[in-house]
Symmetry: C2
Subunit: 333 residues, 2 copies
């Protein structure tokens, strides 16, 4: 391949991602500058947070300027190096973007150790695993016997959160959008209960019934109705970990939690976090995640879309709940 296919952020979503949001273009393969390496991206991680990066307003990262390559987390191999720490052929993960190739500062990249599946480097052993590990344990601080509720529990992050909570002796309840996903949670991942929010006429009641001792930790990826339902069942000194709010990312006006005053009655806490802050502590998480994974105590599944050209349309799966497991694009199809 001598050309570099890239998706450019053409138009900011308002609020939905449409066919006009990202535009595929062919460009020359970039030249790495001094201190950079050229990476042949092989896997692209699609994440709900990609949507927030498209906004004009800064979030925890600056907005992507219009006309620039769409930001994305990738795995790939070094095909040319002007950085001492990474040799040609090295497998790396980093911010390669929605593109075949990226020239990146060598020190912005993480080497993928030998024998590690690059897909795992983009999920359980990468940003997803760290998000689940530190979000649950550092922000949520569950104790043995606590009830942990997880939204988007069949998603990449949620499914790990639930399993890590089980490994810590918690009662774990998840919400998901299909019976198949719910069955996966309870039958394969060991969740104590799962709620299909699409089929549940009264989510507040469903949460109350599934969490008879109330909710000590709610790990929220979704926002909206499930956040209100969780607050209505919050245990004394309960903690709401705000990881994301995918139900609200495409909302013209975000629906704030109308039950937030439950925080007063419960002496509860609602706290946000960004996984980037935990990168310096990554080894701490990996020291736990790797053995769990090796012993088969953490399961995950991948939903692979073939071909970079399908990345833009595949992104929609996240907002429709169409993916089953960590959504990845196999760039070389």
């Amino acid at each position: 391949m001598t050309t570099n296919r890239v998706f450019l952020l053409e138009k900011r979503p308002d609020p939905d991602i449409t066919d006009e949001t990202l535009r595929l273009e062919e460009r020359p393969v970039p030249e790495p500058a001094d201190g950079e390496v050229l990476v042949r991206n092989t896997w692209l991680s699609l994440d709900p947070t990609n949507r927030s990066w498209m906004n004009a307003q800064a979030t925890y990262l600056p907005p992507i300027p219009l006309g620039h390559v769409m930001r994305g987390i990738t795995a790939g191999r070094v095909v040319a190096s002007r950085f001492e720490g990474l040799e040609e052929g090295a497998l790396v993960s980093g911010m390669g973007g929605f593109a075949d190739y990226a020239a990146l500062p060598g020190k912005s990249l993480t080497r993928i150790p030998d024998g590690v599946d690059p897909r795992a480097a983009l999920s359980v052993l990468g940003h997803i695993g760290l998000t689940a590990y530190f979000g649950l344990l550092d922000v949520g601080r569950p104790k043995e016997g606590d009830t942990v509720l997880v939204s988007a529990a069949a998603g990449a992050t949620g499914s790990l959160v639930g399993q890590i909570a089980k490994l810590h002796g918690c009662r774990v309840v998840g919400t998901a959008g299909s019976d198949e996903k719910c069955a996966w949670l309870t039958d394969e991942l060991g969740f104590d209960a799962a709620i299909n929010y699409r089929k549940t006429p009264d989510l507040t009641r469903a949460v109350r019934e599934a969490c008879p001792k109330r909710v000590d930790v709610f790990f929220d990826n979704v926002g909206g109705a499930i956040l209100d339902a969780a607050l209505a069942s919050l245990a004394m000194r309960g903690r709401v970990v705000v990881c994301g709010g995918i139900s609200q990312y495409n909302a013209k006006k975000v629906a704030g939690p109308s039950n937030y005053l439950a925080l007063v009655v419960a002496r509860g806490r609602m706290e946000g976090f960004v996984v980037l802050d935990y990168l310096p502590r990554a080894n701490e998480a990996l020291a736990a995640l790797v053995p769990w994974l090796q012993r088969g105590e953490l399961k995950s599944r991948y939903h692979v879309v073939e071909g970079l050209e399908n990345a833009a349309s595949a992104l929609q799966l996240l907002f429709e709940g169409g993916n089953q497991g960590k959504l990845l694009v196999a760039i070389e199809s």
Copy 2:
């Protein structure tokens, strides 16, 4: 007086307090049982939380059953005692309710020390002072140089919060509903800035301008638009102390903070608390509050309504912002 005027909770507000909510009735003066004292209530504290106690749903206290005496925090003097620790003539504060007399367990009462104004026992040296002190310092945890924003800053709690924050070296900004209140905050209490929310066309912008280094601690008594404005200006690791949400107490549907996802970007925390939990640590607060008060470093003002019979209508002042300082009823008029 041989009869006992009492306000009974006749009808639950739906959502507004009306003339039918509380009904004044004459009853015989109660007889104290063993372990109880009979208190002649002299001062009744009117607090926003009175509204929440009227609901059918439990909050941090059980709901008041219909037909029962309206719960209220009072000061008064013991006129008959069947409890060893309190003699006739002792001044006490406690849950005397909207009534002339109350028979109460002696151990539920707090003795008002000699020389302490009973009005202060219901405000700066009572539940209001503890709310401000522990809510700000224990939940909000301001550091010197932090920007502290307070809503309902001219109210009983808010005015103390702001002054305590000033005593801790913070930049303090308050919101209030009149120019007179705002002038009191800046000219008398030493606030760095005050925002008249009724005159401000863009509250988000007003907060941003008044808090150029963003908001490290937001002490919220109000909810609604000011909560969203504060979240929009939340500093990194900023803290929102949820003390109350008076703008929402009479709402059919509570407006949740639509900017709550700012907690993610700011790695922020939103936390509720109830002052009752801090009663065992009251002396810790008083050890700071009393000297501040004696040195004139904490100022407060009282808004006194004469006559128990006016307690029900006076309660409305809180929701209209009609009171100037701690709202109290002088029961014997």
